[in-house]
Symmetry: C2
Subunit: 421 residues, 2 copies
């Protein structure tokens, strides 16, 4: 697409979204929930249109030689559409944060000052994931009163377009302003650059995808971003650990779903329990197909383990591979986590009160666990409801991002003619 045409197209989307966001901010929770229910119904009603579009995407993906796993992630069917619709219905049941007044106080001069939650405005979401992200994102943004501009992966282009059109029509039918939900309907990569420059019409950009996407957005965005970077999670088995619990938790953290950001990538074990604990772990992990890459002390205990290289301590495997290091004490564990952790989730298994407190206090991560699996790092598991990714940055939101994190506050000040002296 010619640069100027593309620029104008993206700009027009931004202006339309900004205008829609002004009205959307005033829409009642009741109307938003009605719209969400209509959107869920729309997906099921027009299932065949979506599946038809999806077949085009899947055929193109096979032609391009994408792996069977990738094609499977892309593929929609009645059951997956039903799950998408159920996801939207669940968001309709969540508490609407807009309009809440978390604080209000009176000043000595009589001014009544309150902080009220309002939508952020217009959110840009750039993602590479499965088509279900399209529906989740649309629903979360609508419920929190935000207009959204979606830019999905090119593999899912036809699926995303079909889904967005159906959702947008259903929402409009319930009084949601046009422009509240838009998809960038081109696979031209320059569209992403145009979005990143549009700080006048976008209040935040949320990139959801691999390290290349995150790096591109961090480098070039004029718009504030909320990023979800990699997850390199550690579990530290302390000298004073209930080793049966440690086995159970480590197994869950590594094996239950190894391909996600909150799975364990590195195990740290106190030297006083390593020779007893690691062989037991190996008895579970070996048959499960987990490859262990160990430090020299680990290899001395588990002669079958491969030697860990320096880069193993910094690698997010997202696979059935585990780096294992034997440490002298909790200080070494904390130092290792400080140096190699990604700031997402870290866990200690211990029965010692002082060590549990120290781990909670000193580890600098979005989620710090005592005696539980890092796999719980998730909006639903925390009780926040559906989430919009997990933020690994410190500004605005850290950890699972729920509806409240898609809002900001404004001060409202009610006076009776006060002036400043």
């Amino acid at each position: 697409m010619a640069t100027e045409v593309l620029k104008q197209m993206v700009l027009a989307m931004g202006q339309k979204a900004r205008a829609a966001s002004r009205s959307l901010a005033k829409v009642s929770t009741t109307v938003k929930n009605e719209a969400l229910r209509a959107m869920a119904a729309g997906l099921l009603e027009h299932a065949e249109d979506i599946l038809e579009a999806n077949r085009r995407d899947c055929a193109a993906a096979r032609e391009k030689g994408l792996s069977a796993a990738m094609v499977d992630r892309l593929t929609l069917n009645q059951q997956r559409l039903k799950a998408m619709a159920d996801g939207i219905l669940e968001i309709a049941t969540l508490h609407d944060p807009v309009g809440e007044v978390p604080k209000m106080w009176r000043r000595p001069n009589g001014l009544l000052i309150g902080k009220v939650r309002v939508p952020l405005g217009v959110i840009g979401v750039i993602y590479e994931s499965r088509p279900n992200v399209t529906a989740d994102t649309a629903a979360l943004c609508l419920k929190s009163g935000n207009a959204v501009i979606l830019r999905g992966g090119s593999e899912a282009f036809h699926s995303n377009r079909a889904i967005t059109r159906i959702l947008s029509d259903a929402a409009s039918g319930q009084g949601i302003p046009a422009g509240a939900l838009q998809l960038v309907e081109t696979t031209d990569r320059d569209a992403v650059h145009e979005l990143l420059q549009m700080d006048r019409h976008l209040d935040v950009i949320i990139p959801r995808g691999g390290p290349d996407l995150i790096s591109l957005v961090t480098e070039h965005s004029r718009v504030p971003i909320i990023k979800h970077d990699k997850g390199l999670c550690h579990t530290y088995v302390d000298a004073h650990a209930d080793l049966e619990m440690a086995l159970r938790v480590c197994t869950n953290a590594k094996i239950q779903r190894p391909g996600v950001c909150n799975a364990m990538e590195t195990l740290l074990v106190h030297q006083s329990v390593a020779s007893y604990f690691l062989p037991q772990l190996s008895e579970i992990f070996s048959p499960a197909g987990v490859e262990i890459r160990g430090c020299p002390r680990t290899q001395a205990i588990l002669p079958g383990a491969r030697a860990a290289q320096d880069q193993d301590w910094d690698e997010e495997y997202l696979d059935l591979i585990l780096a294992v290091k034997v440490v002298d004490n909790i200080e070494e564990a904390l130092a290792h986590i400080e140096r190699h952790g990604s700031g997402l989730a870290e866990a200690i298994i211990t029965s010692d009160y002082a060590n549990s407190r120290r781990f909670l206090d000193e580890v600098d991560a979005a989620a710090v666990f005592v005696n539980a699996s890092t796999r719980f790092t998730d909006g639903n598991q925390f009780g926040l409801g559906a989430e919009m990714g997990i933020s690994t940055q410190k500004l605005h939101v850290r950890g699972p991002m729920g509806l409240e994190d898609l809002t900001c506050t404004k001060y409202i000040i009610q006076g009776s003619g006060q002036i400043r002296e």
Copy 2:
């Protein structure tokens, strides 16, 4: 300075700050307050060193031909040093947000989940203002447990260096880790670019200065930023206003201190009261030296007023100039504010309940006032204590930025061996 040397210097500062931030996060409130008191005492004790350095800056400024007003802003004396020290002592009395647990809850599976306030980590502050900002910023960052790298304006270079060294020595003497407070000790502009790239060691950059600085930082920073953009504040005098109150509030908003971001720049007046209200306003504003630039209807009422040009509705005068527009109704006022407002502070003067609610609900700004002066948009006036500028963005903090806004949260999860099903 050679690029590579500069790069290494700034990088070393970042590493030192990161290391310091880890220990600083664990320092108790008591120790931080002792350090603040020692810093205040240090400023007074070494007053002569600071004044000597300041004389060098002022002489250079005069030589460069800076205006008398600029030189005055730069100049320090015993009285201003005393005010700086008092500012630090006041910060010692503020509540420390670090360690607070704003929420904690138990999940059905027994996991106890809490959100705890922690420092952001390392803050970069790039500023152009008076040397007192150096002391304020150092104290606010220390109290909130953050390491800080300061980059002040070149005019105040010697003053800032003297102040920072004294403050840093005083803090170290009380057990604050070295590296917690550092100043970029070069006026080389490339140092700013190096800071903007250092997303590994800086958690946030706060630019405080003119539009050129804000634009530079927005464009080039890889580090998340909190910006304080311009303030173009409106006051709308409604049909149902107490006009005596309106006069008092408008006078305060425009004249009490015209050179600041929360002063009124544009007055909107309902047509039904304009012919009565504007002449009265003019009787106060003319002798006070306020130049009025009016729309045609304003000029019809005040024949002496200059004609407002299109650009007047978008200009932050920071001076004794006021743009005045007569509007047909509250809708026109809201539309004008939506189009021209900067999102900082907006006010309505009205006795009508519905209009007051509508203005509070619909205006999208950090602070929305009913029947009070926009000049109250200030951390101290809101009761937040000393502030670190006023954020005009929506992410993380909006409006006056207090100590709490220099923190983020982390989740702490206490379990008893829970695993995810």
